[in-house]
Amino acid sequence: MLAAAAVEMHELVSRILARHKKDPSSLIPVLQDLQDELRYLPKDCLTMVAHGLGISPATVYGVATFYAQFSLEPKGKYVIRICDGTACHVRGSSPLYQAICKRVQLEDGRATSANGLFTVETVACLGACVLAPVAMINDKVYGQMTPEAINIILDELEKEEEASDHICKTAS
């Protein structure tokens, strides 16, 4: 690992640990803050958290892998959650899921697209059964989804990305 990246990571962890007063019982809030910052929990960060809180790295790993909210793999900029609860399932969440996987070109069981833009997950229920089938992209809920509709939404998102990339490039 590059020294600069390591120091940056160390500073981020130190800042978050200080915010929680290095209290071992704050492990979950600490991991949540870390995940908010980095969109995932790198192994090195988890080890630093363990040393900082005085708990074993194995215990931290256990907690980080227990909760579905934490990811040890880098997540895409857009996290797409397809509801596969009973209502959504009978209203066609499976074809929806297949369509998205195909659209963002997920390969060999991976959950995140090669360009790092999209992560696709299923959840047991989003609690919006009346809108079944439901998808969530980051914090936004999309009801009564179809493969066609989701493709349009994803097209829009990709277009936005290209546009912002272009702005960045011209600005620099």
Binding site: K43, D44, M48, S56, A58
Partner: protein, 590 residues
């Protein structure tokens, strides 16, 4: 007097914390898999279910008894539930019992038989994980794990390390190291207590029996064995003798029948340790520096100190452990008397300990690629070899061990029990500090089986403060107090295993029965009492070793042969941490 009814039988309550304890007091052996009397209660296996009138089915291990409770332990419903729970546990368990080293001592096997689970209906759901045999002492096979969590708890609660934890959830849940790293890359200290509490073969000791058989069969090799103190009072359990029954002479007889050329006593090397360590101790007391002196006989403790308390490495006694002292003496001096090359001698230790396997492999204990101790087998492994050979252990005669490492003093024998090293050192130190021999040989102040003990002794015009610890979590607590300045000690003895080496993970399986460990300890104290010479400094064999080879305790020759150095080692640390530590060092030195 309050009472409960167990299967319509009145049982008086006497402060029991759980229904399980009450039921067992009533003479009913409720099945358990995840319960361990010396660890926290987990309540995960659901085998100790009982029916309580008005409350329904509860787990006995974590339900406190209440006045007037009517408890039933063997109803139709309970039999159904228990069998179902067992079937579900068996679903995730690789059932290759005949080729499993725990066959015959496996608690799951015993329960499956007891509750007649003849046709387990369920199959494993999650993909099986690979076997991890990366470490020097332990092998982990997740396919045999039943998720009882005893290993997780003993590592965290008793040793304060937490090298193992539950990870993931549901059908994918497993016991794993941090990030599923190989065990050799974690902060595991190889104490093996996880294997000692494991009810199945998911955690077993890495055996070296085949290598030893090979050496024994090689006519070019002179195979020397050494027997640790705690082995003699435990190996008999494998052959129906009571715990604590000492069988040193039979061990010698058995080893010779297996093909050993020499059989030595590690206790005699322990006598040497006493002299070297006391010399070191008195020097530090005189100078008033690097106190407390920490003992260094326990290799699990040494590794723990190296990775977790590098700031105290200067305080650690530089003495090698008795195992390594004897190995060094044999390969350095004894072999020259035999007129053979170092690689013609094979040194095999019989130890109660799994961490000794790690210790023997430390690079500093080898010269030109030849190890001072070639192989380490546990008490259990030797018992296995004796069975394999077909010897009837209890019928063997008592034979003497081989000179010049044959007859130890009582001081060397009690090294195998917590407090023993301290007492052995006191028997020597008293004489020097008080400038007269002690009236009593025994220092019973340091005896006992509690995890953390301390005492003060006035010797001559000095007060010597001792701390005696078993369990690394207790050691960590003591170190925190020392760091905080709330306690002060001159000498601290640390043993990682419960009760000291008598409770080592290489010993016959005792299922967390603390009484067994105590009886082994008592056996060692009995052996001490029966020895003609009980102070290390009075051992004529030890005096002869110094005269022939080493000079005096603390001499430079003794230092080369019997002492070692320690260095800070990484337990489990992130790469980024390491980079930052390096940067810090650069900054501070610049």
């Amino acid at each position: 007097m309050s009472w409960v009814a167990v299967n319509n039988q009145r049982v008086e309550l006497n402060g029991e914390e759980s229904i399980l304890a009450v039921v067992r007091k009533a003479g009913v052996d409720l099945p358990t898999l995840c319960y361990h009397p010396e660890l926290s209660v987990y309540g995960g296996c659901r085998l100790c279910l009982v029916e309580v009138k008005g409350r329904g089915v509860v787990a006995a291990c974590h339900t406190p008894p209440e006045e007037g409770m009517r408890i039933h332990t063997n109803t139709d419903q309970l039999r159904f539930l228990r069998k179902m729970a067992l079937e579900l546990i068996l679903a995730g368990h690789e059932r290759e019992c005949t080729s499993c080293s725990r066959s015959g001592t496996c608690r799951l096997q015993e329960l499956a038989e007891r509750f007649r689970v003849d046709k387990p209906r369920f199959q494993r759901q999650a993909p099986a994980q690979a076997v991890d045999d990366s470490g020097p002492a332990l092998i982990r096979d997740p396919k045999k794990c039943v998720l009882c969590g005893e290993c997780v708890r003993v590592c965290a609660e008793w040793q304060g390390i937490g090298a193992l934890s539950f990870s993931k959830r549901g059908a994918r849940m497993s016991v794993s190291t941090a990030f599923d790293l190989p065990i050799s890359e974690t902060s595991c200290v190889n104490c093996g207590q996880c294997a000692a509490v494991c009810p199945t073969g998911a955690l077993v000791v890495k055996a070296q029996m085949d290598a030893v058989w090979q050496a024994l069969a090689d006519p070019e090799k002179i195979v020397c064995f050494q027997i640790a103190p705690a082995v003699r009072v435990a190996i008999g359990e494998e052959f129906g003798l009571a715990p604590g029954h000492s069988t040193t002479g039979r061990l010698a007889a058995a080893l010779r029948r297996l093909g050993a050329d020499r059989v030595f006593d590690t206790s005699l090397a322990a006598d040497l340790t006493v002299l070297e360590e006391t010399a070191e101790f008195l020097e530090r007391v005189e100078a008033g520096e690097r106190l407390p002196l920490f003992t260094s006989c326990c290799p699990a403790w040494v590794k723990y100190a190296e990775q977790s308390y590098p700031e105290y490495l200067d305080n650690l006694s530089s003495c090698r452990s008795p195992q390594q002292m004897l190995g060094s003496l044999v390969k350095r001096y004894y072999r020259t008397e035999l007129g053979v090359q170092p690689d013609q001698i094979v040194m095999v230790s019989v130890m109660p300990c799994t961490a000794k396997k790690f210790e023997a492999q430390r690079p500093e204990f080898a010269t030109a690629g030849i190890r001072d101790v070639d192989f380490v087998i546990t008490t259990q492994e030797l018992a296995q070899m004796i069975r394999e050979h077909g010897l009837e252990y209890t019928a063997l005669p008592e034979e003497p061990l081989d000179e010049p490492f044959a007859v130890p003093t009582g001081a060397g024998i009690i090294f195998g029990v917590t407090g023993g090293v301290s007492e052995a050192v006191l028997r020597r130190a008293y004489e020097v500090l008080a400038a007269e021999p002690a009236h009593e040989v025994e220092f019973t102040e340091v005896r006992g089986f509690e995890g953390l003990r301390s005492c003060e002794l006035t010797i001559g015009d000095r007060v010597i403060r001792l701390g005696v610890v078993n369990g690394l979590a207790n050691a960590a607590e003591l170190l925190r107090e020392i760091q905080a300045g709330t306690v002060h000690y001159d000498l601290v003895e640390v043993m990682a295993c419960p009760g000291g080496c008598v409770g080592g993970a290489g010993q016959p399986i005792s299922r967390g029965d603390s009484a067994v460990r105590r009886r082994r300890g008592v056996g060692l104290y009995l052996g001490d009492g029966q020895q003609k010479v009980r102070r290390a400094q009075e051992n004529p064999a030890v005096a002869a070793i110094y005269e022939r080879w080493l000079g005096a305790p603390g001499s430079s020759e003794a230092h080369t042969a019997l002492h070692t150095v320690y260095s800070h080692r990484e337990g489990h640390r992130s790469e980024a941490d390491a980079v930052c530590v390096r940067n810090d060092t650069v900054r501070t030195t610049a």
